[in-house]
């Protein structure tokens, strides 16, 4: 099966990661050049830099032989346009992420399958209300693993350290660091954790409390 994913943000990236490990052929189309380059390394070169709302970009991606197109950008109008073009090009199955639940009706009227993530919707509503240092669940993975996002504040015990110096609980891994300017980086030996960084961390459901203490601070810090 050949799957095209429009949008290489958080949702698109993790969807692609899931597909990469399977037997499907997959391509992510991402409009922002820096983001496209970043995830292209992580996704074994399966990223095309371009605007998926342009028919010629979709044609270049081989849309004619795609079995499924999933439009998962943060903009519902863009997701609608990608799906409409894909279907017009004869793609048998198109799927859209709906960011604003009230837009689901239009997708339904147009006969486009949608996914509204309740978690997404609620999180986007409360994100601003949360304290600066907090752990936000992003996605459930399999076998008890979860993806969480932690934003570092001045009081975090790991600020100024490299990811390698931070002792994390079992089955936990800092997968991605997004700095306060919104630039994502893969954690490396010379990366210094900074106030305002958002860390995307894979962890186990049972280790979340320890992870919180390690990254945000608490009675039993796990940092060395």
């Amino acid at each position: 099966m050949y799957v095209i994913i429009a949008g290489g943000g958080k949702v698109g990236y993790y969807l692609a990661r899931e597909l990469l490990s399977g037997e499907h052929e997959m391509l992510v189309i991402e409009q922002r050049g820096a983001r496209a380059a970043e995830i292209n390394d992580l996704l074994e070169g399966a990223v095309l830099h371009g605007d998926a709302c342009e028919a010629s970009v979709l044609d270049g991606a081989g849309i004619a032989r795609a079995d499924l197109v999933a439009a998962v950008t943060g903009d519902d109008e863009d997701n609608l346009v990608v799906c409409e073009i894909a279907r017009y090009r004869g793609v048998p199955r198109v799927l859209a992420r709906v960011n604003n639940p009230s837009n689901a009706l239009l997708f339904e009227k147009r006969g486009i399958e949608t996914t509204v993530s309740a978690t997404d919707a609620i999180l986007s509503q409360i994100e601003q209300e949360l304290p600066v240092t907090s752990m936000v669940p992003v996605m459930q993975l399999h076998q008890g693993l979860e993806l969480v996002e932690v934003r570092l504040s001045e009081t975090s015990p790991v600020v100024g350290r490299t990811p390698r110096e931070v002792l994390l609980p079992p089955e936990s891994l800092i997968a991605l660091i997004v700095d306060s300017g919104g630039v994502p980086r893969v954690p490396g030996a010379d990366t210094t954790l900074t106030v305002g960084d958002a860390l995307v961390v894979v962890t186990h459901a049972e280790s979340k409390q320890m992870l919180q203490e390690a990254l945000i601070g608490g009675a039993h810090g796990f940092d060395t």
Binding site: C53, V81, Y88, L106, K109, R110
Partner: protein, 131 residues
């Protein structure tokens, strides 16, 4: 939808010709483009928002024209007007000619200022003024 140069010029003419016109824009300062004595209604709101379209009276409209700067926004709002509010005549401005052609097959009347402008200027090159 969209009170830029094109939207305001159309609103002015349709109002002058005796039609009942509502102009919808996110930014109320855009209404400065409308002439003194404009007889239509000015509504502040996002045309991609169902409630805003409802408040602007999309349910009673005979025609809907989307002329914001964004092709995808115009398309989204036009489909809302057609599919959800049942507006009979929907016109969508699309700058990207490729996208415009496809949208034209999806139930909308589209206008591409890019193609139209290119055609017009090429026509000007020939001595007779015709392509």
């Amino acid at each position: 939808m969209g009170c830029g140069r094109t939207g305001s010029a159309m609103a002015r003419r349709l109002d002058r010709d005796g039609h009942q016109v509502t102009v919808l824009d996110l930014d109320s300062s855009q209404f400065r483009r409308l002439p003194e004595g404009f007889g239509g209604r000015m509504a502040v709101g996002n045309g991609m928002d169902r409630d805003a379209l409802d408040r602007a009276g999309a349910g009673e409209a005979d025609a809907f024209i989307a002329v914001t700067q964004g092709d995808n926004r115009n398309f989204f709002a036009s489909q809302l007007a057609r599919e959800v509010f049942g507006v009979e005549s929907v016109i969508c401005r699309v700058k990207d000619p490729e996208r415009g052609e496809i949208f034209g097959h999806l139930g909308l009347q589209t206008y591409s200022p890019t193609s139209a402008g290119a055609d017009a200027m090429i026509a000007m090159l020939s001595p007779s003024g015709a392509a």
